[in-house]
């Protein structure tokens, strides 16, 4: 028995292919990328050793910090919206719709599986101003709020909010289902007992339900942050980072540095910073959760 389960050749055959692909395409390139950060140049121009020059440039680079703040702002608002509205929806499903919520859950979940490019193209048209008004401007025009008719994606401030609305719209149904699954786990007796003790409405939610839902909410939060800090597709497809650089997150700034300016070392330095940033935020959220629960 032991002999069969400890068969070395078989273990290599089963594990080998996955491990080789994973190490060659994911692990080694990470090390390679860190190596790039100490060089300047590109494969075409040749590399020269630069020490910590890339890191020094990065600290002084205003556009890097703009991108950093954009990513942070985007992550705060989108994650906040996804988890906040997801939670509201989950409570609504569980306490108002009860057993009949399956169809609504399914419909609200749907946009998650849609291709980002298609979603962004729809939102471009919804918020369009030329050559004809999109739905949003047309409706404002119709009800007489002419001052609100504006180039939504043509201004940094409004483009940011369209982006936030789009990504919250797309993913709130996903987080609603996750949190709803957590809600059903709470025993009905617990809620009933709290009700008998006089808790109701907001007090019930605040004192009983939300604390019990905390662990799954934190997991959802970490998952969401991990996605929003790495936002790329939505931005590329909706605004292309513009107008100007107004909606350029770290990922897109890195992409431009690497592939438009051919600065491999600098691009990798941004990528390494981005990775560290995601790791630190996840660890902080995790530590915070551990202390709290």
């Amino acid at each position: 028995m032991e002999r069969v389960l400890r068969d070395r050749t078989a273990a290599v055959i089963f594990l080998g292919p996955a491990l080789v692909i994973y190490v060659c395409i994911l692990l080694i390139p990470i090390g390679w990328s860190i190596g790039y950060t100490f060089f300047s140049g590109s494969p075409i121009s040749g590399f020269t050793f630069a020490g910590f020059q890339n890191y020094a440039t990065l600290v002084q680079d205003r556009r890097f910090w703009d991108a950093f703040w954009f990513s942070t702002r985007y992550a705060i608002f989108v994650t906040g919206g996804q988890i906040g509205l997801g939670l509201a929806l989950a409570l609504f499903y569980h306490f108002y719709l009860k057993r009949s919520s399956a169809l609504i859950r399914t419909l609200v979940f749907f946009p998650v599986v849609l291709p980002t490019v298609a979603v962004a193209a729809i939102f471009q048209k919804l918020f369009a101003i030329a050559p004809q008004y999109g739905v949003v401007n047309a409706v404002f025009d119709l009800i007489g709020l002419h001052s609100l008719v504006q180039p939504w994606l043509g201004r940094g401030q409004t483009a940011f909010w369209v982006l936030v609305i789009m990504d919250v719209w797309r993913a709130m149904g996903f987080y609603a289902v996750i949190l709803y699954a957590g809600l059903i786990e709470i025993p009905a007796e617990t809620i009933e007992a709290a009700r008998l003790d006089g808790a109701s409405g907001w007090a019930l939610a605040q004192l009983v339900i939300l604390p019990l839902l905390m662990p799954i909410t934190i997991s959802a939060l970490i998952f969401s942050l991990n996605g929003t800090l790495k936002v790329f597709d939505s931005v590329v497809a909706l605004t292309g980072g513009g107008p100007g650089n107004a909606t350029t997150p770290l990922t897109l700034y890195m992409y431009r540095a690497a592939f438009t300016n051919n600065a491999y070392g600098y691009g990798s330095t941004i990528a390494v910073m981005l990775t560290l940033y995601c790791l630190i935020v996840s660890l902080l959220a995790y530590r915070f959760a551990r202390r709290d629960v």
Binding site: M1, L5, R6, A10, A11, F14, L15, P17, A18, L19, I21, Y22, C24, I25, L26, P29, I30, S33, Y36, P43, Y96, I104, L107, V108, F110, P111, V113, L114, P115, T116, V117, A118, A121, I122, K125, L126, P131, Q132, Y133, G134, V135, A138, L142, W169, G173, F174, I178, S219, A220, F223, K230, D233, V236, A237, T251, Y255, A271, L274, T275, C278
Partner: protein
């Protein structure tokens, strides 16, 4: 008589329940929610049938006057959606097969077989869930350039596999854990070797897991933008996402009809898959995120 009375009394309470303010509020919220979530998609489908003059002369929210199929014809001929679709299929399905085969093998070796260091190997795989694609983009780009794999679907298939493996192995090991060890031990006592254990005992039990993992990875790969726009720039090799992005960039401003038709063409197949398999999809996608 008594039953009639009871019935009408029941009907009255029913009506009262139905008109309860709480229920009306819930109904209004449901209505609003459905409008918010579904209107953009319905609007997309309706707009894809509008002729060019309709866009100019009538408000954008007006219903189409008829079915202007020319939009779809334009999207598929000038937009080359047929080529992009074919490329997406040629990339997605081999990648899925590779992810499932190698991922299931690895999960089997880690969870069922016994050797030193398997926990470390599992952790190494799981760490990959956190890694942003951006950090490997440049090294992979140079490597594929050296190996002449740029503009080659193999580059995409291999990269999708590497990035699909962490979650896949996480899910598969989770599915393998509850298999009773007695079943496997009994088979070994009966003389089965390790390959027979895999093929005859474990594999049949993994049918559901394979479908779940396959669906989750399908959406990741099919919807990918960053890898396909980095490794492919030959128009004839493009996948549907980069193809659509370029189509919208090129014709999106002026030709709304064909643009809507192109977007709808990328949404409709996903919609059909979702209508058929929504329970499995929801379970799979949510299992992949918050079990950890």
């Amino acid at each position: 008589m008594a039953t009639t009375l009871r019935r009408s009394a029941q009907a009255a309470t029913h009506l009262r329940q139905r008109l309860h303010p709480r229920r009306i509020a819930a109904g209004l919220i449901v209505g609003l929610l459905l409008i918010i979530q579904l209107y953009p998609l319905i609007w997309l489908l309706l707009s894809s049938f509008k002729g060019p003059t309709e866009f100019n002369l009538r408000p954008i929210y007006a219903l189409p006057e008829g079915f202007y199929w020319q939009n779809y014809l334009d999207a598929w001929t000038r937009g080359r959606l047929n080529i992009y679709y074919l490329n997406s299929i040629l990339v997605t399905f081999p990648a899925l097969l590779l992810i499932i085969a190698t991922g299931l093998g690895a999960a089997f070796a880690i969870e069922i077989m016994r050797w030193r260091g398997r926990n470390l190997v599992l952790l190494t795989f799981l760490a990959g869930i956190m890694v942003p694609l951006q950090i490997v983009l440049l090294p992979l780009f140079s490597a594929y350039y050296q190996l002449q794999l740029l503009n080659n679907h193999l580059a995409l298939i291999l990269t999708y596999t590497a990035f699909g493996l962490p979650l896949t192995i996480f899910l598969f090991t989770g599915y393998l854990k509850p298999i009773p060890r007695e079943v496997i031990e009994a088979a070994i006592v009966d003389g089965a070797n390790i390959y027979q254990v895999f093929a005859r005992i474990v594999l049949p039990m993994m049918a559901n897991a394979i479908v779940t993992v396959g669906l989750v990875q399908f959406f990741f790969i099919w919807n990918d933008l960053i890898l396909s726009m980095t490794f492919i720039n030959d128009v004839s090799m493009r996948t549907i996402q980069t193809g659509l992005l370029n189509f919208v960039g090129q014709y999106g401003q002026r030709e709304w009809g064909p643009t809507f038709a192109a977007i709808a063409s990328s949404v409709i197949p996903i919609l059909i898959i979702y209508l058929a398999l929504n329970n499995l999809i929801i379970r799979g996608l949510t299992a992949g995120s918050v079990k950890g």
